[in-house]
Symmetry: C3
Subunit: 346 residues, 3 copies
C-alpha cells in the first residue's frame, strides 16, 4: 500500500497558499538534503538557503517571507514547521490495529476492556482496570489494578502502569516508561529509614506523550498530576506530587523533584533539574543541564551552564571558582586604596 497526494489535495485539506505546479504527486516527507521529486520538504531557517537551492524535492513548504525563495511548487504557510507536521501525519497515518486480545495476554476477569481495544501478546491487566475504546496496548505491557486508561491510547511494548492511576484520552507511552511507581518517601528513625506508603495516584490529562524509560512517580498523599498536552521526552524523572502544567514540553534526561509545580507552556531543556517544592510560572524556559534551585515567578528564559573549554584551560580557570569571594575582597581593597590614593593625589 502506498499513499500519494497531489499538492493541490494537500493544500485543499490543510490550507495555505499553493504556488507553482499543483499537480505534483507527493508520497512522503523528507529533508531538503535527501528529498526526491515525489517528496515534500520544508524551509523555515534562512541558514539552510543553500540546501533549498540544491534540493531534489518535488515541493516545499515555506513561510510567508520565503514565498519567492524557490521556484519549486510550494505551499506558503504562516507556520511551515507545523504545516509540515500535518502533511507528514497525512502521509504517515498511525498503523491501524485490529481490536482483540491476544491469547497469551492475562486479563483479570474484573477488568473492563472496551471491545474496540487491541491488546497484544504477553500483556497483563489487573483487577478493576479499565481500557477505553480504540486504545492499543503493546506487547508485554502491564496495567495495574483499578487504573483507568482513556480512549485512543497507544502503549508501546513494555510500558508499566501501576494501580489506581487515571489517564485521559490520546496517551502515547513509549517502551520502558513507568507510571505510578512509589515516590521516594522515607523518614529516618533511630538510624533506619522507614518507608512512607505512597498512597497518591498519577493523574494524566489528554494528549500526553511519555518517552521511553521515563518515570512518573505516584503521589505520597495527594496525586502527581500531568496536565493536558504535556510532552515528555525519554528518561525523564518526575517525582511524587509534581504538577506539570498543560502544554509544557520537557526534553530528555530532565529531572523534576518532589512537589515541584511547573507552569503551562514551559520548555525544560535536556538534563535540566528542577528542585523540590519550587514553582515555575507559565512560559518559563529552562536551558539544558541547568539546575533550578529557586522558584521562578516571571516568564522568560533561564540558564546556568558552565561554558566548556579545552581541559587545560578549564583547569587553569576553574580552580579560581573556589576563591571568587576572596577575589572580590581583593578588588574591594584595591578600590579603597585607589580612593585613598586619588584622595592624596588631590
Amino acid at each position: 500500500m502506498s499513499i500519494s497526494y497531489r499538492l493541490a489535495d494537500i493544500a485543499a485539506q490543510l490550507g495555505g497558499q499553493l504556488l507553482g505546479d499543483a499537480e505534483v504527486c507527493i508520497t512522503q516527507v523528507a529533508t531538503l538534503d535527501n528529498a526526491r521529486p515525489d517528496q515534500i520538504s520544508f524551509f523555515s531557517n534562512s541558514k539552510y538557503r543553500a540546501k533549498l537551492a540544491a534540493t531534489g524535492a518535488g515541493a516545499v513548504i515555506v513561510g510567508q517571507a520565503d514565498a519567492d525563495a524557490t521556484q519549486l511548487p510550494r505551499i506558503v504557510s504562516d507556520n511551515p514547521y507545523a504545516y509540515f507536521a500535518k502533511v507528514s501525519a497525512l502521509l504517515n497515518p498511525s498503523p491501524s490495529f485490529k481490536p482483540g486480545i491476544h491469547p497469551s495476554a492475562v486479563i483479570d476477569a474484573t477488568a473492563q476492556i472496551d471491545p474496540a481495544v487491541s491488546i497484544a501478546a504477553q500483556v497483563v491487566i489487573e483487577a478493576g482496570a479499565k481500557i477505553s475504546a480504540h486504545s492499543v496496548i503493546g506487547a508485554g505491557c502491564y496495567v495495574g489494578a483499578n487504573t483507568v486508561i482513556g480512549p485512543h491510547a497507544r502503549l508501546y511494548p513494555h510500558v508499566t502502569i501501576y494501580h489506581d492511576c487515571v489517564i485521559g484520552s490520546g496517551l502515547i507511552a513509549h517502551s520502558g516508561s513507568v507510571i505510578g511507581a512509589d515516590g521516594f518517601g522515607i523518614a529516618m528513625d533511630q538510624g533506619r529509614w522507614i518507608k512512607i506508603p505512597q498512597i497518591g495516584r498519577v493523574v494524566i490529562g489528554d494528549d500526553v506523550e511519555i518517552g521511553a524509560n521515563t518515570t512518573i512517580d505516584r503521589g505520597a498523599l495527594d496525586d502527581t498530576v500531568i496536565e493536558d498536552g504535556v510532552k515528555l521526552d525519554n528518561q525523564i524523572q518526575v517525582a511524587h506530587n509534581v504538577r506539570i502544567g498543560a502544554h509544557t514540553a520537557i526534553a530528555g534526561c530532565a529531572g523534576i523533584a518532589g512537589s515541584a509545580v511547573i507552569g503551562r507552556y514551559c520548555l525544560i531543556g535536556g538534563g535540566a533539574r528542577i528542585l523540590g517544592h519550587l514553582q515555575l510560572a507559565d512560559h518559563v524556559e529552562v536551558a539544558a543541564h541547568t539546575l533550578v534551585g529557586k522558584s521562578i515567578r516571571e516568564p522568560g528564559s533561564y540558564a546556568a551552564i558552565y561554558p566548556f573549554s579545552k581541559s587545560e584551560d578549564w583547569r587553569k580557570n576553574a580552580v579560581h571558582l573556589r576563591h571568587l569571594d576572596e577575589m572580590l575582597k581583593r578588588i574591594k581593597k584595591l578600590e579603597q586604596e585607589n580612593a585613598l590614593l586619588k584622595g592624596k593625589d588631590q
Copy 2:
C-alpha cells in the same frame, strides 16, 4: 474493606503523648491542606503554621515544641515525620498476595521457590535461582540463573535481575530496575574495543529499596555491593564494583561511577555524579547536580551548583569563566602597582 483506628489505639501501638480527644476515629493520613475529619496529618515545619490553623484534619502529629500549636486532638512525638510514616504504614498495610505461581510463568525445574512465594503472570525464573519465603515476584519479572532472593522481597512488574546475584531480605525493587547487567568494561586494542567479561556479582543487603529504571551493574572481577538499608530512587546508575554503605539514600538520576566507595548514612542529591575510584566518608551529603571529582574524607555537606539566572544575565557573566585566570592576574598586577604607588606616596 476499610481500616480505622481510634487515636488512642494509634498512641497505644506507636507511643507518643496523646493530647485531646482520644476517641477520634482515623482512617487515613493526609496533608494539612486536604485532610478530612477522619484523617490524621502532621506538622513539623513552622513555615506551614497557617496550614495547621486551617486544616480540616481530625488529628495531627506534632513535635515536642509544637505540643500546643493546635487544639486539635494530637500526638506529640520526638520525630513527627517518622511517627507519621508509621501511622501511614498502619493504615496502608502492604497488600497481601496469595502464594502460588501463575500458570503463564516459566520457572526452571531446578529453581527453588519457597511455597510461600507469590509469582505473577509472565515471570521467567532461570535454573538454580532461589526465591525465599513471602516474596512477591510481579508480572513479567526475570530472575537469572543461580540468583538468590531473600525473604519478604517485593519485585514490582518488569524487574530484571541477572544471574548469580545475592539479595538479602525485604528488597523492594520497582519496575524497570535492572540488577546485575554487565559493567562498562572495555579495553582498546589496535583500534578496537575488547569486552572485559564482567564476572563479579551484585550483592545486596537487607531492607534495600531500588527505584524504577535504576540500574546496578555487576562487578568486573569482585562484586558490586549495596549494604543494608540503602534507599535508591529512580533512574540511578550504579556502576561496577561500587560499594554503597548502609543506610545511604540517593535521589533520582544520580550516577555513581565504577569502584566508587560511598560511606554509611550518606545523602546524595538528585542528578549528582560521583566519579570512579573515589571514596566518600560516612555522613557525607552531596547536593543535587553536583559532580564529586575527588574523595571526600570528612563528613559534611558539599556542593557545586552553578546558580541560574535569566539567560541574558547568564550569558553576560558566564563568558568570563573562561578568563578567570587572567582576571586574577590583572588583580595581582593592580595590587603590585598599588603597593608601588603607595610606596611612592610615602
Copy 3:
C-alpha cells in the same frame, strides 16, 4: 565444568613474552588484591606497586617496563589491560545457548528466524522481522515488524526494538534498552503541540554494545546511525538523527541531543550532554557532567565541571557568579585609575 589453562597455553594462544614458571595452572582472572594461586591478575598502573608485591596471584600480566617488577610467573605484553581482557574471555567464554524457540514465545508467521537462533520465554517477534544465525534473544524481548538483527547478537531479557530497525552483527543489548522509539518531534500550532511522525530508522553497525536502560530514538526523517564498534554504557539517551562515529565509547547517563554528529574514537564521560545539531571531530574527549554547547572541530580533551567544595564555601563563592561581569568592570576601572595615578606620579 571448570576451565583451566597452563600459563604456557595462554601465551601460546595470545602471544606475549612468558617469564617464570610456564606450568602454573590458571583457572580465573582476579584483582591483585583478591587473586589466589590459580588465578592471574594484571599490573598496569605503578600506583598499585604495593598490591603487586602483596598479591596472592599465581601469575601476572605486566607491561614491558614492568617485566621485572615481580618474580611471579608473568606474561609481558605491550598492552597488559587488553591482554588481560583476552585472557578473561578465554577463561569466561560466553555461555552457549541451544538453538530453539521457547513455546511461550509469540513469533509472527512471517518473521524469519534462522534455525541457529535461540529465543527464550515470553519473547514477541513481529511480522517480517529477521533474526540471523547464532543470535540469542533473551526472555521477554520484543522485536518490531521488519527489524533485521544480524548474526551473533545477544539480547538480554527485556530489550525492546521497534519496527524497521537494522542491526549489524555481534550486537550486545542489555536489559531495558529501547531501540527505535519515536524521537521527540513536536511543532507548536495554535497553542497545541502537533506530533511529527518519526519515520526514520535506527541503523546500528557491527560489534556495538548497548547498556541497560539506554534509549536510542529512531530518526525523524533520515536515520539515527550508530557506527561499528560503538560502546554505550547504561542509561544513555541518544536522540533522533544522531550519528555516533565508529569505536566511540560513551559512559553512563550521557545524553546526546537530536542531529548531533559525534566523530570516531571519541570518549564521552558520564552524564555529559551534547546539544543538538553539533558536530564533534574524531578523537574528542568530553569530561563527565560537561555540557557541550558548540561544535568541537579539534581533537582533544574538553571539560566544564564546577569544582565542588563544602557547601558553606560553595555558597560564599557561587553567589559572585552572577556578578562576574560587574567584577570585570571594576577591575577595568581600577586599571584606568591606576594608569592615571601612575601618569600623575611621573
